[in-house]
Symmetry: C2
Subunit: 204 residues, 2 copies
DNA sequence: TGAATTTTTTACCGCACGGTTAGTAATCTG
DNA sequence: CAGATTACTAACCGTGCGGTAAAAAATTCA
């Protein structure tokens, strides 16, 4: 995901630095102007080099954008994965919700890219993300059901779609309303899930 | 929303027919190729006339797209509004969920446009929709709380964001996976909300 | 019929896009 | 220092975009 050099040479210092810089400015440009407003010329200008220099380091503009998306998603996945992996049952799903929302709160520049990657509006056609993410969450829900945390009649697939949609909406809402309390909304969602899916009703 | 002629003359027959046709082909083009793939030339070609003819009936390409979005949203709003308006309390929220999902099931060509309008990726900057939709749903939730259907401690705003996100995800999922059972997912969401928000726990 | 007006076409304009080419600095290396 | 490699720039190319101008059809109406 992070390297598209077939196998070749070990990348010089300059090469690594430029690639990292280009990925960085691309992330910022997408955050500011969205994908459609992120042109090759703008990327070059933001990096202080010419268009051709950008294409010297990457085979195409799409490759730059893809690398930027890859970088963000890798970082997000690492963070969320660590939080989720340390837990099991319902706690894993709750960690998924909290950590994903928390990540966007701490990396505002990454948020728009994440939202667009989720919505599939990346302009680059890949989007195995959506399906695999849904399946991952469905797996977590299934595990929570198997462990007895969740009632036996929950539908993991449908519930995964619903939970992901809710999480994405919370994140997306913070883009249009920066004052939106995403942490609180995440807690509301966690509480709702406990009541709706919990086998032993969490509280009350 | 449906007419952008300032006030002028009453629109000839041809004018009305062409406008309707152009709106129709635009909806279909967006459904097939998304907004970015819907160019003026394509709209003209699909309608069997020249680009200039399109711009004779509409002041700009954006106006065509806007009219198409308006047409779809008007139709959707009318349908959902009728279902919701006939009910109150929790039943109104459930009708909102069921009718919105049902609409997209019965109007597949409109679905992508609705999803993109929701995601704000219309290419046309207006998007008061997202905010007003959230506020409308928040109002419904608040009313359900006031009527005693929902527990008194629900947060209408945060819950509205979550519910809308879940509904949108169900609809969006059907775009990438046409076999996805949106009606069933809607029922799952309704059940979850009853358990999570209901003051008297719906069932169990 | 013939004039007025509607609808439409053809040809064009300028622009921003992604990408290529050829040459030029800069840097590394023997 | 010389030669090779790396890193880059300026200029250009073709394409598709939204939009405009002028004139030709088609239609309406007296």
């Amino acid at each position: 995901m992070s390297a598209q050099v077939p196998v070749g040479r070990p990348l010089t210092i300059t090469e690594q630095a430029r690639r990292a810089q280009l990925i960085g400015v691309t992330i910022d440009l997408v955050a500011e102007h969205g994908y459609p407003g992120t042109s090759l010329a703008r990327i070059a200008e933001a990096a202080g080099i010419s268009k051709a220099a950008v294409l010297y380091h990457f085979p195409s503009k799409d490759a730059v954008v893809r690398a930027a998306y890859g970088s963000v998603l890798e970082s997000l996945t690492a963070y969320v994965g660590a939080e989720v992996g340390a837990r099991s049952g319902a706690a894993a799903i709750e960690a998924y919700i909290r950590s994903l929302v928390a990540y966007t709160r701490h990396h505002p520049a990454h948020t728009r890219m994440i939202v667009e990657a989720i919505a599939g509006e990346t302009g680059v056609d890949d989007t195995p993300h959506a399906a695999s993410r849904r399946d991952s969450v469905a797996g977590l829900i299934d595990a929570a059901r198997a462990s007895g945390d969740y009632r036996p009649d929950v539908d993991p697939r449908a519930t995964a779609v619903i939970v992901n949609g809710a999480v994405d909406a919370i994140v997306a809402e913070s883009l249009t309303d920066p004052g939106f309390d995403t942490a609180h909304a995440a807690e509301e969602l966690v509480t709702m899930l406990r009541r709706a899916l919990g086998a032993t009703d969490g509280e009350r």
